[in-house]
Every structure is written in C-alpha cells, then in structure tokens.
C-alpha cells in the first residue's frame, strides 16, 4: 500500500521540488529528477510484485459524492510498469538531450507531474479516478508540448489541448451514462455493464471510443499527434508514442474488458465495427507515414498505425487477442521509445531532421543507426525483436476470433512498414563519401546513447525470450478470461 502511494506521489513531490528549486541549480535538479523517477519506478515494481502475488491494493476515497479509488489490477500493472520503466530511461535521455536548453525547470517539473498522472491512469480502480488522471495527464503534458515556445509549438499545443479536452468531455458523458446504467464504476468484480443488453449501448460504446480514441489517435481523431511532434524528442518518444497515447489505448482496453465485458461486446454491432476502424487506421497511418519527409512526423504517423494494433487486438475479444495487445503494448513501447531516441540523437548530433538528408548519417553515427536499423526490423515485426510476439498473438487472436482479414491487415502493415523505414536505414548507410560533422561528443551523448542501446537490447531480449514478459501477460489474460 505504501508502495502504491509513494509510486503515485513521487512524481508530484518531485515535480513540486523541481519547481521550487532555483533554475540555475542544474546539478541538484538532475539528481532530484533522477531520484524521484527512480524511486517511482522501483515502487511501481513493488506494487507489481504485490499484485502479481495476488494481493489487492485498494485505496478508496470520496470525491464529491463519487467514489474515487486506486486499485491496480494486472492490466494496470502492465501499463504502469511500461510507463514507470520507460520514464526512467527517458529522464536519463533527457538529461543528455535537454542539457543547455531553455525552460528546463518547467520541463522537468511537468515531466515528473505527468509521471504521476500516468501512473494514476494505470493504477486507477474506477472510471472516476481514471477520468481524473486522464484529464490531469492532458494538462500536465501540455507545457511539454509547447516546450519550444515557437508559434508552431503554441499552435500544436492548442490543437493538442482542444482535441484531448473534447475527447475527455465525450468520455465524461460516457462515464456518466455508465454510472447511470451500471450503477457502479469500479473495475473489480467483473464488467460493469454485464447485466444485459440495452438499446443505447452501441451509442455508449461509440462515446467511449471517441473519448479514448482521441488519445489513442484512432483515425479521424488523430490529427493532434503529428502536430505535437514539435515537442522535444524525449517528450515525443515517451508521451506521444507511449504514455499519453497509451492512456487512450489503456482506456479502451478497460472499456472492453472492465466496462462492457467480452460477452456483451460480442452482441453489439458497433463493437464489430471497431476492429475495422482500427484496421483502417493501421493501414492509413502507415501509408501516410511513407509520404512524410520529416523523420519525426513519419514516426508519428507510424505511431498512429501501431496504436491501432493494440485496439485491434483488444476488440478481437479473444484471449489471444488480448495477450497480443498486451505484448504489443510492451514490445512496441520499448522499441518506439528507442526509435524516437535515435531520431533525437540524429537531430541533435547532425542537425538532420528529414529523411531526404539522411545520407551519410550512418557513417557519422554508426551506433545510433545500427540501433535504428534494429528497431526498424522490430517495427516490421521480424522475429528477433519483441514486437513479433505482439503481432503473432494479435494475428492468432484475430484468426481465432474469426476475423482473419485482420491478420492480413497486420501483414500488409508490416510490409508497408518495411517500405517506410528500410530505405531510411539504407540511405543513411549508403553515402560513403559524405560525412556529416558531429556537433559534440562526451557525457551528453553517452547519456542519450546508453538508454537507447539498452532499450534496443531489451527489445531483442524480448524477442528471443518472450518468457521475460509473459507472466505479466498471462496475469492479464487470466484476470479477464
């Protein structure tokens, strides 16, 4: 219990502490940031261990007549651990990336507070808490999006806020309806709406899909995501490829398994439609990505595509689909973060932000580009990388769930991924003569490179040894089926 409380509060405490420190005390601030993210991560792992051991850590309170409770279950644990662990990596990377940049104090303060918000989303035990942290996450990440303070960044930030707040508004309506129909909002004790079929449930599902779909960048609601790429790379890496967007995805997983339940969803017409929307998003996202020249935008559209993998898996309503979704969550998070990290290193070291300028990067930054290449393979879904297992189980789930064309969509997406990123890698290694000047070396570069490499190694390890994460996946599947 203490671990849970501390895991949640470490971000906020750290954030306030950072905000209180004078802006000039960089070293002290870095220590504080590292300490609090680290301790948050450790506490999350402790929480995870307790939950896997079968303990229930319920922490309920009142929020104006509504129960507000934290009650991590295996699914939340998976999301929480992804966030907490990657947060630590990102913070280390940030220490390198942000060194010498403006507005560092704001950056770290909000990064830490957003950490708490994300863990809150992960560990929330009912819809009210989920909604609270979901909103909080939007607001605390806004300053990170506009970190550059350029007009472009400001515009992107506004877009980000409006999309997400509008989504949250729709979500609120959905939650209210759930409360009215289901009579309770807690996740424990089976699906909330399991009682029976009602006429408005399709609409309710629609509202939930729109509400969470904004953050999960489901197709017509995705436009904030590429725009938000003006943020510093660590933010793009963690928040817009993993934490924030995963909050949406996680929400939808909750909707499927904790609000509606698979039996009920199986009878809803709209639920049968969503996998196809997700499939469309998978394809359109990656096809649009192939046409982007700015590397980060390309990654962003690819994010859109890959997030829908998870949704697709969730809506197969099959245990294997769920396992695939969870595996994809884990594997993709690790690799995508590394992917962005690579892009960040390239941009910082050589100033190259466009695919068309990539020639010669491979010669100048061999380690980074090797990491990039490995991650590319993972994005395609090739075997020695962790993402393969996600894809594998997703396909398995969709075939077993009777929706075999979805498996073909996943295959097609893999092929287009290859078309999208392999030329980048090849181009980077090709121009032998061109050698870009590297701006600097030293500690800063090491700080950026080490987390990247570690993540790639983790991705490889997951591919070769999926048993590494399997207990977590197993726990989720057992929890819901």
């Amino acid at each position: 219990m203490l671990a849970l409380v501390f895991a949640l509060s470490s971000g906020i405490i750290g954030g306030l502490l950072v905000a209180a420190l004078p802006a000039a005390r960089t070293r002290l601030r870095n220590m504080v940031v590292l300490f609090f993210t680290g301790s948050g991560m450790i506490c999350s792992w402790l929480v995870a261990r307790q939950v896997w051991a079968g303990e229930r850590l319920r922490f309920a309170g009142q929020l104006g007549g509504l129960t507000f409770c934290l009650d991590p279950d295996p699914l939340g644990i998976v999301f929480g651990l992804i966030a907490a662990t990657l947060w630590f990596f990102t913070v280390v990377y940030s220490l390198g990336y942000m060194a010498g940049k403006a507005h560092q104090r704001t950056y770290y303060a909000f990064l830490l507070v957003a950490f708490s918000a994300t863990l809150g989303v992960a560990f929330s035990g009912n819809l009210v808490a989920l909604y609270l942290f979901y909103e909080l996450l939007t607001l605390t990440t806004y300053p990170l999006v506009i970190q550059e303070r350029s007009p472009e960044a400001m515009q992107a930030g506004t877009k980000y806020l409006l999309y997400n707040l509008a989504g949250a508004a729709v979500l609120l309506l959905a939650i209210v309806l759930t409360a009215a129909w289901g009579g309770r909002l807690d996740f424990v004790g089976g699906p909330i709406l399991a009682a029976g079929l009602k006429t408005g449930l399709n609409w309710l599902l629609f509202l939930f899909t729109v509400g969470f779909g904004v953050k999960a960048a489901l197709l017509p609601l995705h436009r904030w995501l590429p725009a938000a790429m003006v943020a510093p790379t660590p933010v793009s890496a963690l928040l817009h490829a993993v934490a924030v967007v995963y909050a949406g995805v996680y929400g939808l997983l909750r909707v499927v398994y904790s609000v509606f339940g698979t039996t009920l969803l199986g009878e809803l017409g709209f639920a049968a439609l969503i996998p196809w929307v997700a499939a469309g998003t998978v394809l359109v996202g990656i096809i649009v990505a192939t046409q982007q020249d700015i590397l980060k935008r390309r990654l962003a559209y690819q994010t859109i595509s890959h997030l829908s993998y998870i949704l697709l898996g969730a809506f197969t309503l099959h245990p294997w689909g769920l396992a695939g979704a969870v595996l994809q969550m884990i594997g993709y998070a690790v690799l995508k973060t590394a992917f962005f990290f690579c892009a960040g290193i390239i941009a910082e070291q050589t100033g190259v932000t466009r695919v068309s300028q990539m020639g010669g990067v491979g010669r100048s930054l061999p380690k980074t580009m090797v990491a990039f290449a490995v991650v590319t393979l993972g994005m395609i879904g090739m075997l020695p990388l962790g993402t393969f297992w996600g894809k594998f189980y997703l396909m398995k789930g969709s075939v077993a769930g009777g929706k075999w064309p979805l498996a073909l969509v996943l295959i097609g997406s893999g092929i287009i991924n290859a078309v999208c990123f392999i030329p980048v890698v090849v181009r980077a290694f090709r121009d032998e003569n061109k050698r870009l000047s590297i701006t600097e070396r030293g500690v800063r570069v090491t700080l950026m490179l080490v987390p990247t490499m570690l993540l790639v190694v983790v991705g490889l390890g997951m591919g070769l040894f999926p048993g590494m994460v399997w207990p977590a996946v197993q726990a989720v599947v057992d929890w819901f089926f």
């Binding site: 009142q62 929020l63 007549g65 507000f68 607001l139 707040l165």
Partner: protein, 497 residues
C-alpha cells in the same frame, strides 16, 4: 440570549448586513472602522447562516419557519429557512472573502476614499437582500428584495467614476426595472387568482384553480420567467450583463457575477417549483423552454466569451454561459438535475468570484485589460495566477474541482430526463470554457514576460484569493453539506412531482 438568537435566526441573518449597512454612513471618515464593520456584518451573516444550516441539516427543525411579528401564515409574513434557503445562505457567504479582497485598494478602484463607504453600504445592502431572498416565503417580499438588490447592484456597477460605468449602470437599471415590473405583474396575476401572497398557500390555491384560468397562470409564468430571466441574464436577455460586470470595480464584478445573478435564480426556482409546481411547468412545457434556452445560452455565451479580448468581459460572458447551465438544470425537472444545478450554482459563485477577483488584481497591478497583454503575469504574480488557474480548472469542470461535481449531476440529470442534447451542450460548454480560459493561463505562464514589475496584491487580497481557491478545491473534493443541502432542496422542491 442564545435561545433568542436561535429563535430569531432567519431574520437575524437578513438583518445583520442591513443593519451594518445603515450604521455605516455616519462613520464615513473612519475608513478602517467602516471596513471592519462591513466585514463584521458579512461574517455575522455567514455565521448565522452556518448555525442555521447546522440546525436544518441535523433535522432539528426543517424547514425552520419564522413568522415575522408573530402573525401566522396567510396573514403574516413568513420566513422559511428550508434546505434551499439555508443552501443559498451559505452561498451568500462568498461575500465574505470578496469583502476581504475589497479592503485592499478599493479606494483606488472606485476613485476616492469618500466613495468607499458608499460602496460598502451598497454591498451590504446587496448581501442583505440576497440573504432575504434565500429565506423569504412571501411573493411581494421577493419583489421588494429584488428591487433592493437591483438598486444596489446598479450602485455597485456605477461605483467607478467612469462614463461607461454609468452607461452600463443605466442600461442595467432600465432593463432590471423592466424585469421587476414584469415580475411584479406576474405576482399580481397570481395574487389575482389565488388571493395569496404566501408562496405555500398560493401554490395550494393555484393547484386547484389553474384549470379554471389556465391563460392567466400561463401569463404569470411567462412574466415571471422573463422578468427573472432579465435579471439573471438568461440567454437572450443577457445583453446588459457584459457591460455591467466588466465595468464595475473588481469586487463588485465578483459579487455581481458570483452572487447577485444567483439570487434571482433562487427566486426563480422558488417561483417555478414553490409556487407553480413541476406539474404546471410540465403542462405549459416551460421546462423545455428553460432547457432549450439554457443549452443555447451555454453555447452562445461560451462562443461570445471566446471572442472577447478583454479579460473581464470574457469572464462576464462566461457568466452568461454558466447561467445557462443552471437554467438547463432547472428545466430538467428531476432531482438529480436540480440538485446538480443548485450545486453548480454554489460552485460557480465561488469560482466566478475567484476569477473576477484574480482578474481584478491583475488589472490593478498591470493596468492591462486584454488577455494578450497579460503575458508573463503568472511568474510575477504567482498567487493571483494560481488562484485564477484553480478557478479556471474548476470552471472547465476538471475532477478535484467543484465544477466537476455539478456537471456530473447535471449530466446524470439530463440522462434521467432522457435528453441527450443538454448533455452535449454541457460538454461543449466545458470544452469552449477551456478554449476561452486556458489561453489566459497560457499567456500568463508560457509567454515571455515584459520587464515591468507587477507585484502580487496586498495581504488581505491574497488571503481572499487563497480562501476562494481553497473553497473551489474543497467543494470539489469534500462538498459535504453543500451537496447534501442541494440534494435535499431538490428533493423537497420536487416532492410532489
């Protein structure tokens, strides 16, 4: 002594501010004393309200009926402190922090020390009238109190020596008097067919006679809705509000937007539910009109707020939008919706007071009216801006802040009423609210600050801001008696439905 106070509590609550208001003018020279006395008057009122609330909440006496002069009901005038009354009496407590805030640089705001006393007198009159509206059970008393409130509001609006303020006050006065005339007409019609001015008796009589003279009743309903609508800035009748609320001195804006408008709304609720009754409303489809007007008001008010450059005007339009929520809730005709609207009323009173006071503090420190010019103010005036931020988040309806709970029950209510469009309007209003308030916060925190030095306001003002901000959070996390009272009041108002 204690028993005396307890026995006369409803009237004391009303009398205390009024009494202080009357003894202030001779003391005009001694500003300190005036300030202290004014605060005392408001605090006494609040204290009485708290005591009353505790009596009512613990069911020692609910409703607490007080017969003025000892005359029993149909002939005498009654004060009834039921759940609704006590609830609004507590909301009137917002006047205390606003008064505290006023103690800072009111003289500069209203243009001269000699006007300060006048301001306090008007202020306390307004507070007294509000308290009176909360507890009165007599229709003609309502009219008188409304007029008192209107006049003091106009006085407060015109407190600045500034021609636009006078213009706004005149506009307000004309329209408000028009409204009062309509209300009086409505009361007259009710009296005509029922022969009673006491709300309870009139209601009983009405339920018997309305079938015989439906058109008269209809006329009365229309007159009263429109009359109070004008005063409470119900959507298309809001035209006076932006000018009046944005040109008034900041504490006055806070109390006008936060409280005065709510007083009229409480009167409207009393008439609609206490006199006509839900059945009649449904018969005439008034509730649908209210919901419609509320919804349109939310959207239009919010968009209008979005188009404003001037911060106080933006807040004033936001009030129009928020009144829309309340009206919408009144029209839902179910306990949840009505309770939500009432709670939202309290929440908005606190939030809007916070916002206006913070805006006033910023205006006083920077002299800048427009949102765009307030760049960087967040770093220079941290406490003010923190209060503003909390208020904004509350108004947007984030959980942890009071607005969320109100919206939650309103949404539930609209679901119970089987209506989806009000829910959509409520949520669209939230998003639009974010769209017009967050740019202020963005400019304040994330835009480069100019060189000038803008200090935070003085200690009482800071205290007031912090109190109000704390109230926003406390109402959001532990709404306790407020929510309970709102729910009880709603249940009582809809008891026979």
């Amino acid at each position: 002594m204690t028993t005396l106070i307890r026995a006369n509590l409803p009237v004391l609550v009303v009398i205390a501010p009024l009494f202080v208001a009357f003894i202030l003018p001779p003391l005009a020279r001694r500003i300190r004393l005036v300030e202290a006395l004014a605060l005392l008057g408001a605090v006494l009122g609040l204290g009485g309200a708290g005591y009353l609330a505790s009596i009512v909440l613990t069911q020692q006496e609910n409703p607490f009926i007080y017969q003025l002069g000892g005359w029993p009901a149909p002939w005498g005038i009654e004060l009834v402190a039921g759940s609704l009354g006590v609830f609004f009496l507590l909301v009137v407590g917002v006047s205390v922090p606003v008064l505290l805030f006023a103690q800072g640089n009111l003289a500069a705001e209203v243009g001269g020390a000699e006007r300060v006393t006048r301001f306090y007198v008007l202020y306390l009159l307004l507070v007294g009238a509000m308290a009176g509206m909360a507890v009165t059970n007599d229709m003609f008393n309502v009219y008188v109190l409304v007029e008192v409130a209107t006049l003091s509001c106009c006085g407060l609006v015109s407190a600045r020596r500034y021609p636009r303020a006078a213009e706004a006050a005149f506009t307000y006065l004309i329209l408000a008097t028009l409204g009062s005339a309509l209300v009086l007409g409505g009361i007259g019609l009710i009296y005509l067919i029922t022969g009673h001015l006491n709300m309870g008796f009139a209601a009983q009589e009405l339920s018997r006679v309305w079938l015989a003279r439906p058109h008269v009743v209809l006329m009365a309903v229309s007159l009263i809705v429109v009359g109070f609508g004008v005063k409470a800035a119900l959507f298309p009748l809001h035209v006076w509000l932006p000018d009046a609320h944005s040109t008034a001195p900041s504490p006055a804006s806070a109390i006008l937007s936060g409280l005065a408008v709510k007083g009229y709304l409480i009167c409207l609720v009393k008439f609609l539910y206490g006199v006509f009754g839900p059945t009649l409303l449904q018969e005439f489809a008034v509730h649908r009109i209210l919901t419609l007007l509320g919804g349109v008001g939310i959207i239009t008010g919010s968009i209008l707020a979005l188009t404003q450059e001037e911060l106080k005007r933006r807040l004033a339009y936001s009030t129009v939008a928020q009144v829309g929520y309340l009206i919408l809730g009144f029209g839902l005709l179910n306990v949840t919706g009505l309770a939500g609207a009432l709670f939202y009323l309290a929440s908005h009173a606190v939030i809007k007071a916070t916002l206006f006071l913070a805006a006033g503090a910023m205006l006083a420190a920077t002299g800048k009216r427009n949102v765009r010019d307030l760049a960087g103010v967040g770093r220079k005036m941290p406490i003010t801006m923190a209060a503003f931020t909390i208020g904004s988040l509350g108004l947007i309806g984030l959980p942890l802040f009071s607005g969320f709970i109100g919206k939650w029950y309103l949404l539930l209510g609209s679901w119970e009423a089987g209506l989806i469009l009000p829910a959509v309007a409520i949520l669209a209003g939230s998003v639009l609210c974010a769209a017009y308030l967050l740019p202020v916060i963005r400019a304040a925190y994330f835009a480069p600050a100019p060189e000038e030095d803008w200090p935070d306001p003085g200690r009482p003002q800071k205290l007031a801001l912090l109190l109000l901000a704390a109230a926003v959070v406390i109402l959001g996390v532990r709404p306790g008696p407020f929510l309970e009272l709102a729910q009880k009041a709603a249940a009582e108002l809809l008891a026979f439905y």
